[in-house]
């Protein structure tokens, strides 16, 4: 293919993938900062490392927003792309990373866990996720997936000596490798069938006619299985509750948002660039066989229909019986994946926009909830059960109000961003005629409302049975909570701006490379 004649150029690399460069450099620099700090300023190590991470991530965010957003380009021998869709998802990941880093400063201090590698791993996890989303090359995709996963596996096990954390991390690692293997098999199969690893060329080759071969279907199935694992769709969700409960609270929030955003982003990209190209190269109608390729929908849509339903249903249903709030939020995050799957299933512009909006708003409310959770917790697993939340409402009005706000947002009640997100994905599905699925979906969200409200009534309507001592509230966490709370309300009342950006972002999928 002629357009693969890429020349390696540093300046172009910086121009297009500068965000990734900043992250790698910052991650490497942080290793030395850590060595220097642990020798001299042991006491302020967490704070300095944390703020360093925050600024590195913000610099990356700045690069993405100001330099990569207007681009539509490929770099590094056709491996990474900078187009609006990837940039938008990367921004969600970075936002999640920034909020998590801000909260981590307080979290590590409360749990006396300050060790430098935490932030280094966090940066690399963010890097892996962004690289995953930005890659247009199946091989790079897999490598990035592993970079992300490994960093997150270690972070999940960060509570050394805590059995649940170790158990969760090991489960995550074993099952995660299993999922990655599926993904890799799928990629290998595709490569074998088509002889290329580039998404666009793949799409061309497939649409030339071989898309109906069983091999392609198997490959698609395997890739979907591998990614569904990361997206935690039922029945690929089995690892989620243990891992989410076991991991450090802030990391759980990060995993539930950034990793999920990465997996959803790459899934959408694969699905709509390679398997159902929405438009064509550079806007020209080159794929005369696009309609044929869209016929693949007959295979994956029923699967996604059922998975979305099962995910919404079981995620919410099992969450009801949870006594531990953190575990409940884990199941709720499974349910949220189901709602987002609904948006992908719709396979229209509104659906993709809805998924992006949903990911963005979900990141805000979920991280917010985990931020409050870790403060109320005191020390990890100090006060996480519903019983512990009794009577907190009037004792800690601000924290309880914030928790209620985030939970109400997750339950999808107006005037919060959660409601708008649900509205977008549901209306996209209804537009495509999935009325029954939408109706069943909203009914599951009533189940959801039940358990979210249960936390609220525990806080406001029951009297405390035991004394809870929340940990000290660190200033960076306050900043993060203010951002998340304001965001949840702001995008609940004035969603148009973000929705418009998300809409532009998803359009870029039509012109990938």
């Amino acid at each position: 293919m002629s357009e693969v004649g890429f020349v390696f150029s540093l300046s172009q690399l910086w121009h297009v993938a500068g965000g990734q460069v900043i992250l790698i450099l910052a991650g490497l620099a942080l290793i030395f900062v850590d060595i220097w700090l642990s020798a001299r300023h042991k006491s302020s190590e967490g704070t300095i490392m944390g703020w360093f991470t925050v600024f590195a991530l913000m610099a990356t965010l700045g690069h993405l927003v100001f330099r990569e957003w207007p681009l539509h380009d490929i770099v590094f021998m056709g491996v990474f792309s900078a187009e609006k869709f990837s940039v938008f998802v990367s921004c969600i990941v970075l936002m999640s990373g920034i909020l998590a880093a801000l909260m981590s400063i307080g979290y590590l201090r409360n749990n006396s866990l300050v060790r430098g590698e935490y932030f280094i791993l966090l940066i690399f996890a963010v890097y892996g996720t962004i690289a995953l989303v930005q890659s247009v090359d199946l091989l790079m995709m897999f490598i990035a997936l592993e970079v992300m996963s490994l960093a997150v596996y270690i972070l999940a096990a960060f509570l050394k000596g805590d059995q649940k954390s170790q158990e969760g991390a090991l489960k995550y690692f074993l099952l995660g490798s299993f999922g990655s293997a599926f993904f890799l098999f799928g990629l290998a199969l595709l490569f074998g069938l088509t002889g290329t690893v580039n998404l666009t060329i793949l799409a061309k080759t497939l649409s030339a006619g071989i898309f109906e071969q069983p091999g392609v279907l198997v490959a698609l199935g395997m890739i979907m299985a591998g990614l569904f694992f990361k997206m935690a769709l039922v029945p690929f969700h089995m690892w989620t509750p243990d891992v989410y409960e076991g991991s450090p609270a802030v990391i759980t929030g990060f995993m539930a948002t950034a990793v999920k955003a990465g997996a959803f982003g790459v899934f959408v990209k694969l699905l709509f660039v390679t398997f159902t190209p929405i438009l064509s190269l550079s806007g020209q109608p080159e794929f005369f066989t696009t309609v044929n390729l869209a016929a693949l929908g007959a295979y994956w849509k029923p699967v996604l229909w059922w998975l979305a339903l099962l995910t919404m249903f079981f995620g919410n249903l099992i969450a009801v019986s949870q006594e531990n709030v953190k575990r409940m939020l884990a199941y709720s995050s499974v349910a949220h994946a189901g709602y987002m799957a609904l948006g992908i299933l719709a396979a229209n512009a509104e659906g993709r926009m809805g998924v992006l909006f949903y990911l963005f708003s979900y990141t805000l409310m979920n991280l917010g909830a985990f931020g409050v959770l870790y403060i109320l917790d005191g020390k990890e697993r100090g006060a996480q059960t519903l019983e512990d939340y009794r009577g907190l409402g009037f004792k800690y009005p601000t924290l309880s109000f914030l928790m209620s706000l985030f939970l109400v947002a997750m339950a999808g009640l107006p005037p919060t961003a959660g409601f708008i997100g649900k509205f977008y994905v549901f209306s996209a599905a209804i537009k495509e005629g999935y009325l029954l699925l939408a109706a069943l979906g909203v009914l599951t969200s009533v189940i959801g409302a039940y358990y979210y409200l249960r936390v609220i009534y525990m806080m406001y309507m029951k009297d405390a049975v035991r004394e809870i001592v929340p940990g000290p509230v660190a200033a960076p966490t306050v900043i993060a909570l203010i951002i998340t709370a304001l965001g949840v309300i702001y995008f609940g009342i004035l969603p148009e701006g973000l929705a418009r950006i998300a809409s532009i972002a998803q359009q870029s999928l039509a012109f990938v490379f």
Binding site: F419, F423, K431, V446, A449, Y460, M461, K462, A499
Partner: protein, 523 residues
């Protein structure tokens, strides 16, 4: 361009919330300040709503005070508010009842006053917003916002089984309203298919051509949401729980205004949006309304708890409202709207009165009382007046509403009218029997010997209600004339293509109205 009056009225309560937030809740004096801010705010809202009253032109059939600004333009969602004869009195009822309710909580709610008053004001904002929204999305947003403060009011300040009641209230309402949301979106896309315009504007969506199956389906979903709220017969089970467990103020708002959301929803949304679906379900709804009337009355009769009795009487009264709506004649619909107002006033007053003795004795069981008219003469008098209004005694408001509804119903469906009319008798039975057991005879329970009569504050908040009972009862035309044009418009919207009613055309609408006017002299 006039001032955005509806926005002011709707969001003014939030200003009070800000004020309350600034006051720390430490001492009793601070609590009084908080109550004072809430009261003044709600009074200001009432005063502001009076400007709506004076600015309202009842001869205009369309919407007035319209505000329309794009909100989420890519989805055709706008901030669209307006008022017509259907919602006019409901808005005023809301602004009128809220200060009374807040005044009634002065000594009833003593802990977590701040949170309570905030909930009340947020609730008022949501209720007003629901009544004036002309955009389905905006309406839905207000409709859902309403749930949270009510959930908290029942759940935090309620009785012993408050949590059960609060969750039941929430889940029942949420199931209905979420299905409604799905159908709202479905309707919007049908409209887009037909016209190519994506809009949530209610006025554009009226008359959308939808396949019959979907129209029936959509109406069913809307009707479910609203019927739960009304509540209609088989869906009413949350109501007694919520009413009994809620604090007095919660019950008053619940009965007085929230239930009207259901009937208003039928009036504004379900029926005019889906006339065919509405026609399809007309027999079902009439049957369920009549069952509700009789069933509510019968169950009310055997309640040992005064509050539960009043709660079941709501089921019965709201049955009249639904019957009146489905009569689809001017008398019926106007009677129904008037009955909504009446029910808000008289049942609201009854809950307030029950709250008064509950505050003194901490029990609501009928058997605990007896003969208390001797120690509480003023209380007994007011209670009797409100009771008479509730059972539809002539010269009180209840009579007008029920009379108009039955008059309308008789023309369309004699059987339903006759059965519903027996509900009036049953109503008299359970109310008067309760009054007799509570107020008359000897004082059987020594604890009641020292009951204090109403104090000034209680008289102050009850008198306006008593005044209104007679005002509506004696000069109903003052209220009805604001509705005429809007109601006619509503009927013309819903009656299009309704075979069920087309068979029985309204031959002499003016004759009967004239006779009604003859009965009730103009003011």
């Amino acid at each position: 361009m006039h001032a955005p009056l509806l926005t002011y009225v709707t969001f003014l309560p939030l200003l009070g919330v800000l004020g309350i937030l600034a006051v720390p809740q430490r001492s009793d004096a601070a609590k009084d300040v908080i109550r004072g801010i809430a009261l003044v705010t709600s009074l200001l809202v009432f005063v502001a709503s009076l400007r709506i009253y004076f600015g309202f032109d009842s001869s205009v059939p369309g919407f007035q005070f319209v505000e329309n600004h794009p909100w989420i333009p890519s989805y055709g969602i706008s901030y669209h508010m307006g008022l017509d004869g259907l919602s006019f009195w409901l808005v005023l009822l809301t602004t009128f009842l809220t200060p009374i309710t807040i005044l009634s909580t002065w000594s009833a709610i003593t802990h977590r006053v701040k949170e309570f008053q905030i909930s009340m004001l947020v609730l008022e904002m949501a209720m007003l917003g629901t009544f004036v929204s002309l955009d389905l999305f905006l309406f839905y947003v207000f409709w859902e916002i309403m749930l949270i403060p009510m959930y908290l009011i029942i759940g935090v300040w309620g009785g012993p089984r408050r949590i059960y009641a609060a969750i039941k209230f929430f889940l029942y309402t949420a199931v209905g309203s979420l299905l409604m949301l799905v159908c709202i979106i479905g309707l919007v896309y049908f409209h887009k298919q037909e016209t190519g315009i994506l809009t949530f504007n209610l006025l554009s969506l009226y008359g959308t051509g939808i396949p019959r199956t979907y129209e029936i389906l959509f109406f069913a979903a809307f009707a479910l949401a609203f019927a739960i709220k009304v509540p209609m017969f088989p869906l009413h089970t949350w109501l007694p729980d919520a009413h009994v467990e809620a604090p007095t103020a919660g019950s008053v708002i619940l009965a007085g205004i929230l239930l009207k959301m259901g009937t208003y929803g039928f009036l504004r949304f379900a029926m005019p949006l889906f006339p065919e679906g509405s026609a399809f379900f007309t027999p079902t709804i009439i049957v369920l309304s009549v069952i509700g009337i009789i069933y509510g009355a019968l169950v009310a009769m055997v309640q040992p708890d005064i509050k539960k009795l009043v709660a079941y009487s709501s089921v019965s009264h709201l049955g009249y409202c639904m019957l009146g709506l489905y009569v689809l004649s001017r008398q019926g619909v106007e009677g129904s709207i008037l009955q909504m107002i009446n029910h808000g006033i008289s049942t609201g007053a009854l809950f307030l009165l029950v709250g008064v003795v509950y505050e003194r004795r901490h029990t609501r069981l009928i058997e605990e009382y007896g003969g208390i008219a001797r120690v509480m003469p003023i209380y007994a008098t007011i209670f009797l007046v409100v009771t008479l209004s509730s059972i539809g005694f002539p010269t009180t408001n209840g009579f007008i509403g029920e009379f108009l509804i039955l008059l309308g119903a008789f023309k369309v469906n004699k059987v339903a009218a006759v059965i519903a009319a027996t509900g009036v008798i049953l109503g008299a039975v359970y109310m008067l029997w309760m009054v007799q057991r509570v107020f008359y005879g000897e004082i059987t329970n020594p604890k009641n010997k020292l009951l204090k009569d109403l104090n000034v504050r209680e008289v102050v908040y009850l008198l306006p209600l008593v005044f209104l009972i007679f005002w509506i009862g004696l000069f109903p035309n003052f209220f009805l004339k604001k509705m005429h044009t809007s109601v006619d418009h509503f009927i013309s919207q819903v009656k299009i293509g309704t075979p069920y009613l087309a068979m029985k055309p309204d031959k002499e609408p003016n004759v009967l109205r004239a006779s009604a006017n003859g009965l009730f002299p103009k003011e």
